[in-house]
């Protein structure tokens, strides 16, 4: 039995521990780790080592070297550090290495040592230099916190979306704090720092002094502090050799422990076993390790999701393995295999030694039309690597034309982008491309391009109609579209021009355009309108009142209503108003005036071209039966019955209908026989009908 417990050693009074090696590190380190800046990524990610970080000599042999290893010590990359002195290293959640330089510049590298980008932590940091820096992780991403030589803090909570925040001053802080850490509470990053016996909490608005509950007295300085991975717990190590453990909110103490060691520890971290509720702090000195445990509590770590695992494999370029995992787990293609293949393709386009054709073919062979693969994304990557031709080749595989457009625009292939946008059927996209083209090309070329794309042209015209009238005119001119030019000037004659001279001039231009368009009708109508406008102006001057913008018909009517019959006649002749219209017009106007005498005179001026029934109708409309009857007698035989019925003479209407022997008229009259006195008339009609049937 004792073989099972042989490797267990006592730890304190009631606990045992054992030590066994998981694997040995593959690396072959020459330097002591203490001489290096070291950063290990979370979740067993890569390890970065910067050798000779503090040497300032220029000699290549002693220049700092940046090495990246896998968690098991397999070398991934090694490069000579040629930039400025580095203060701190750290890995982002996306496994990007952040190297914080003394001047506040942060250089970002991929896990294969490929330089990605850099950013600055701001002017204040640049001026006062970086004294200390921390890379920390929150639910929003990875952040950087800087302590400057002026003892001020600057932080960015997410380097992916860089927003620098300068923290408020700590009153009376003259030297560097003895220790500090970042906290994340209520989704906001804070800084906790220790100055002598005091603790301060900094948020972006204020600096407040805080006191850990139940802290034993006599502390004159905090030597070390550690916050747990989830920011829930905090451990403090005091110069009295005392360890305080509690919640990071500083509202609750979990336990305390006096270790009787007063030397400052090298390191202090929280740890726990997966799924275990036991929490502990590990404190390390040069030759001593101490584990301080606390009461159980009920939280669990979030596990790495399968997606993150796959991402990590992809980052390490282990594509086949990732695909096998996807297949084994039967992940849907879009989330699994397609995504991995897309990543592979993005890597593939960076292989500069392979020709564009070969890369494009290789990618298409592997990917085919796998759902969820975006060829345009891959093409964008190719373009990012400066391979425009390859990008265009790859775009040809993209089945959704709309997706091709943004990249084509970026690559200045705007005309191709235009036809792709049109193919997509998305007018909004077409319009976006159009405005690009408009800025890119000179006007002539732009118009030529439009000319070959009717759909784009009509879209642009619509825009111009509302926003750029002059351009619209130029467009029509360019196309020799005289018909539309004419219409354009007609619209201008009443929409934009106000003075009468301007309006007439616009109409003249319109008429000229219509002649050029061989639209004689429109040209003549426009010329008539010019004459009418001028005349209306004169009428207003001479007679007063409102004439401008009336139609010809209404102009004449207005003249008659104003008693200017001569003028009206003249106008009708000048503009060749047809007789029929003139009669309708006069009839209506005179009836409106109730000028019955003039109406009668007019009716006798010559034979009415519209007959006399309208006279009857209009008199009845004005409730003048007396006048109506005058005209009823003059109505021709075809409409006689109607006229008689209108004036209410049912009996006579019946006589006429009987005389006409017209069945339709007979029933019309019959339908009007409603009054008590119409009985006889109705009988008469029935008799006539019966007689007609006999014959």
């Amino acid at each position: 039995m004792d073989c099972y417990t042989a490797n267990w050693n006592p730890l304190g009074d009631s606990a045992f521990y054992r030590k066994y090696e998981l694997y040995s590190m593959d690396w072959d380190l020459k330097e002591e780790l203490r001489d290096c800046l070291v950063a290990a990524a979370p979740y067993g990610g890569p390890i970065a080592l910067l050798r000779n970080p503090w040497r300032k000599e220029k000699a290549a042999s002693v220049r700092p070297v940046l090495d990246i290893y896998s968690a098991s010590g397999m070398p991934l990359a090694s490069l000579l550090w040629k930039s400025g002195p580095v203060v701190s290293l750290g890995w982002s959640a996306e496994e990007e290495l952040l190297c914080v330089q003394e001047d506040g510049a942060v250089l970002v590298y991929g896990l294969h040592g490929d330089f990605r980008r850099h950013f600055s932590m701001g002017n204040e940091v640049l001026q006062n230099r970086v004294l200390d820096a921390r890379i920390f992780h929150t639910e929003f991403g990875s952040g950087v916190a800087i302590l400057t030589g002026a003892h001020r803090f600057t932080l960015s909570a997410n380097v992916g979306d860089l927003k620098l925040r300068r923290m408020p001053e700590v009153p009376g802080l003259q030297s560097a704090p003895s220790c500090w850490t970042t906290l994340c509470q209520d989704r906001v990053a804070h800084i906790l720092l220790a100055v002598g016996p005091d603790l301060y909490l900094l948020d972006h608005a204020a600096c407040s002094a805080v006191t850990p509950p139940g802290l034993a007295p006599g502390v004159s300085s905090f030597l070390q502090m550690a916050v747990s991975f989830t920011y829930r717990h905090l451990a403090l190590f005091t110069d009295t050799g005392y360890i305080w453990m509690g919640t990071a909110s500083l509202k609750e103490k979990l336990c305390e422990f006096n270790c009787n060691i007063r030397a400052p520890p090298k390191q202090m971290v929280w740890c726990s076993r997966p799924r275990s509720k036991e929490r502990a702090v590990v404190v390390a000195w040069e030759r001593r390790l101490m584990v301080v445990g606390d009461a159980p509590e009920s939280i669990q770590y979030k596990q790495l999701t399968i997606q993150v695992l796959l991402d990590r494999l992809v980052l390490r370029r282990l594509y086949p393995l990732a695909i096998q995992i996807c297949e084994y787990l039967r992940l849907p293609e879009v989330q699994g295999v397609s995504r991995i293949l897309a990543h592979w393709a993005c890597y593939k386009v960076q292989q500069k030694d392979v020709s564009d054709e070969d890369v494009a073919r290789a990618i298409n062979q592997k990917l085919g039309d796998t759902p969820g693969v975006s060829y345009s994304d891959i093409a964008a990557r190719a373009y990012g690597c400066g391979r425009t031709e390859l990008a265009i080749k790859l775009l040809e595989y993209e089945p959704r034309s709309g997706e091709q457009v943004p990249l084509l625009l970026k690559m200045k292939r705007s005309k191709l982008a235009l036809s792709k946008a049109i193919e997509s059927g998305d007018t909004d996209l077409v319009f976006t491309v159009l405005l690009h083209l408009k800025n890119e090309l000179n006007r002539g070329d732009f118009f030529m391009t439009l000319r070959n794309q009717p759909m784009a042209l009509s879209l642009y015209r619509q825009f111009c109609k509302h926003q750029e009238l002059e351009t619209l005119k130029d467009l029509y001119n360019q196309d020799d579209n005289h018909q539309e030019l004419g219409s354009f000037h007609i619209r201008a004659s009443y929409a934009t021009e106000e003075r009468i001279e301007g309006r007439v001039a616009a109409l003249q231009t319109a008429a000229d355009a219509f002649y050029k368009a061989k639209n004689e009708f429109a040209a003549k109508a426009t010329e008539d309108q010019m004459r009418l406008l001028r005349l209306q102006r004169r009428l207003e001057d001479e007679l007063g009142g409102q004439f401008l913008d009336l139609s010809l018909h209404d102009t004449v009517t207005t003249l008659i209503l104003g008693g200017h019959n001569k003028r009206a006649e003249q106008l009708a002749r000048d503009f060749r108003i047809p007789d029929k219209r003139l009669w309708w017009l006069k009839l209506t106007a005179l009836a409106d005036l109730e000028d019955w005498e003039e109406l009668e005179k007019f009716s006798k001026s010559k034979k009415s071209p519209i007959g006399y029934l309208p006279f009857v109708e209009i008199c009845m409309k004005q409730h003048n039966k007396y006048e109506a009857k005058k005209y009823a007698s003059r109505v021709g035989p075809e409409q006689k019955v109607k006229a008689l019925l209108l004036v209410g003479d049912v009996a006579q209407a019946a006589d006429v209908a009987i005389e006409h022997r017209n069945e339709a008229e007979l029933s019309l009259v019959l339908s009007h026989c409603t009054g008590a006195t119409d009985g006889a008339t109705a009988d008469k009609i029935q008799r006539a009908r019966a007689q007609a049937q006999k014959k």
Binding site: G425, T427, F431, Y494, F521, A522, T526
Partner: protein, 590 residues
């Protein structure tokens, strides 16, 4: 009255979901997100509101952007700062953002989208409420709404399953259909699992049949729309209808039991029906007289409310009828209808032309005159040159010179054209095709046909028997075909096309008609076999009208459905009528 459906007629899908969806989204956008408390109409005048935040719910149109820009800039001048939020429905357009930028207010406003495209106006009627679709597409050639149509169809297929049988005719129908298919392919899998609820979908461009839309409507619902204008499924009845001093907004849909019984009826039957109904109602009221207390209590608590409701609706519709009759008899409605029928049947063309001329000379109504001119043009394959010139001249003299532009619009849309000497055109075509390759010839023919879009109405009418032969009187009380919606004189062309295709389940045998419609390239059928489609779903047909449909067409298809045991569901870009079409084409002085 209100003929019942056949017992085997399928149930309609539940569209209230769409309404809830739209309403919840809007309420969320307005209340939660933007804390809106009062709504104003977007008009070009200063905002009187004193609130700190203005929120605009608008269609993505440049005109609206200019209005917003004016407002914001006026505030700036006055030294006033507030927040501005623009909610675009159904989507934001880049051009709009451009205008905001050009007007210098892009930084001052924030934008949002309300992807709302389908409003259920009734149990069988979905409207996109896009009246501008008609002018934008058929006049300006602007295809911006096609994407919106595709999105709407996509939404329907996600909610109610894919459509096993698809048919369509028209350029826009085809483009919408293809774009929609693309959307479905991109989001594969989502719709596949659903069992199809609607067996057929039929897409139809408005320009396949302008004639029907241009006719005066004589079924009750259409007549109410022509007379009072139904907006978003409700109508404002003025004092002349309500016989009080107030106007009343009335919802017109299947829930109004009285309306539901008369909506599809020829107007000549409606009055008689309503008075019969009134007598029945009176009889029910009268029953009270002999009641004891207990019966009276029952009557009051159970029946009275329903009776009162019915009473209210009845008196409203009787009022509406009276008002319609008054208006229609005043303008000699019978004459007008007679002329329309003559045009449809193609006789007495000279007489009809004189009638139209008189109509213009008397300045009866600019929109009506225009409508008659268009009806003459389309039924006659264009006006003969002499009439084309003289009618236009008369029109300009009556209604003002700016209508020169209206005529240019109508010509472009193919609504009012000059008769092309037919022989010459075909002669040129055949000559050209001998000279050049087939493809180029096709293009040239295209160019010609766009120059003179021939409606071929007369030939189509013969081919499809649109003018029923009537022996004796057409009994409008017991309709025998869809022609009843036009007093038995004409079967709506659009509805006849749909009927024929559904009967054949394809365009087979309709080649000649398709050719006459100038649509050989744009008539399509697409069938996917789906064994899960129930026989019930296969008798449900979604008809999509691109550019608007009229209530007469809806009534006609409802009738066809009852005859054949189908049920039709209507999806339209907007409900339209002749006046709306003409107004969309008219130039008015701003």
């Amino acid at each position: 009255m209100a003929f019942p459906h056949r017992p085997d007629a399928p149930e309609l899908p539940d569209f209230s979901m769409l309404k809830r969806l739209a309403r919840d989204q809007l309420i969320y956008l307005l209340e939660q997100q933007h804390e809106v408390d009062k709504l104003y109409k977007v008009e070009n005048k200063p905002a009187l509101s004193s609130s700190e935040q203005l929120c605009f719910l608008v269609r993505p149109r440049i005109k609206n952007m200019r209005y917003i820009a004016n407002l914001v800039n006026a505030d700036k001048l006055a030294g006033r700062t507030r927040k501005y939020k623009v909610i675009f429905s159904p989507q934001k357009f880049y051009a709009c953002e451009m205008v905001l930028e050009e007007e210098g207010i892009y930084g001052d406003v924030s934008c949002d989208e309300w992807a709302f495209s389908l409003l259920p106006l009734d149990v069988d009627l979905l409207s996109m409420e896009l009246p501008e679709f008609f002018r934008d597409y058929f006049l300006e050639g602007d295809q911006r709404w096609i994407n919106t149509v595709a999105q709407a169809l996509h939404l329907l297929s996600t909610l109610y399953g894919s459509f096993p049988n698809c048919y369509g005719i028209g350029r826009c129908a085809k483009m919408s259909y293809e774009l929609w298919r693309k959307l479905e392919e991109e989001e594969d899998g989502e719709t596949k699992g659903r069992r199809p609820e609607i067996g057929h979908i039929f897409l139809l461009d408005r320009d396949m049949d302008f004639v029907t839309a241009l006719c005066s409507q004589v079924v009750y619902e259409g007549l109410v729309d022509d007379t009072f204008r139904i907006k978003c499924g409700s109508v404002d009845f003025g004092p002349e209808v309500t016989s009080s001093d107030k106007s009343l907004k009335v919802l017109l849909n299947a829930e109004d039991k009285v309306f539901n019984e008369i909506r599809n009826e020829h107007f000549s039957n409606v009055f008689g029906f309503l008075s019969q109904k009134a007598r029945n109602l009176q009889a029910q009221y009268d029953r009270r007289r002999g009641m004891d207390i207990k019966q009276m209590k029952n009557f009051v608590s159970q029946e009275l409310k329903g009776l009162k409701q019915e009473h209210r609706l009845l008196s409203l519709h009787i009022g509406a009828c009276e008002s319609i009759m008054k208006k229609k008899t005043k303008q000699d409605f019978q004459e007008l209808i007679k002329t329309e029928h003559a045009l449809l049947e193609g006789f007495n063309i000279r007489e009809s032309t004189s009638y139209i001329e008189e109509h213009i000379d008397r300045q009866v109504s600019p929109i009506e005159s225009l409508r008659l001119m268009c009806l003459l043009s389309i039924t006659e394959n264009g006006l003969i040159p002499k009439d084309y010139r003289s009618l236009k001249t008369q029109y300009l003299q009556s209604y003002g010179p700016e209508h020169l532009l209206t005529f240019s619009n109508l010509r472009r849309a193919g609504l009012l054209t000059e008769q092309a000497p037919g022989d010459t055109l075909t002669a040129v075509e055949s000559k050209v095709s001998k000279l050049v390759t087939d493809k180029a010839a096709g293009k040239i023919t295209d160019a010609f046909s766009s120059l003179a879009k021939r409606s071929n109405f007369r030939a189509i009418s013969k081919k499809l028997n649109l003018i029923p032969r009537v022996d004796g009187e057409y009994d409008l009380k017991v309709p025998r075909d869809m022609a009843y919606v036009f007093s038995g004189a004409y079967v709506p062309l659009s509805c006849r096309i749909i009927e024929q295709v559904l009967e054949r389940r394809s365009w087979q045998g309709l080649d000649e008609v398709v050719r006459l419609l100038n649509c050989s390239e744009f008539a399509f059928t697409d069938m996917t076999k789906d064994d899960r489609a129930s026989s019930e779903s296969l008798r449900l047909i979604l008809v999509v009208f691109l550019g608007g449909c009229t209530f007469s067409e809806i009534s006609a298809l409802r009738f066809l459905g009852r005859e054949k045991g189908y049920r039709f569901i209507f999806l339209t870009t907007a409900v339209t009528n002749s006046a709306r079409l003409m107004e969309a084409m008219s130039e008015v002085k701003a």
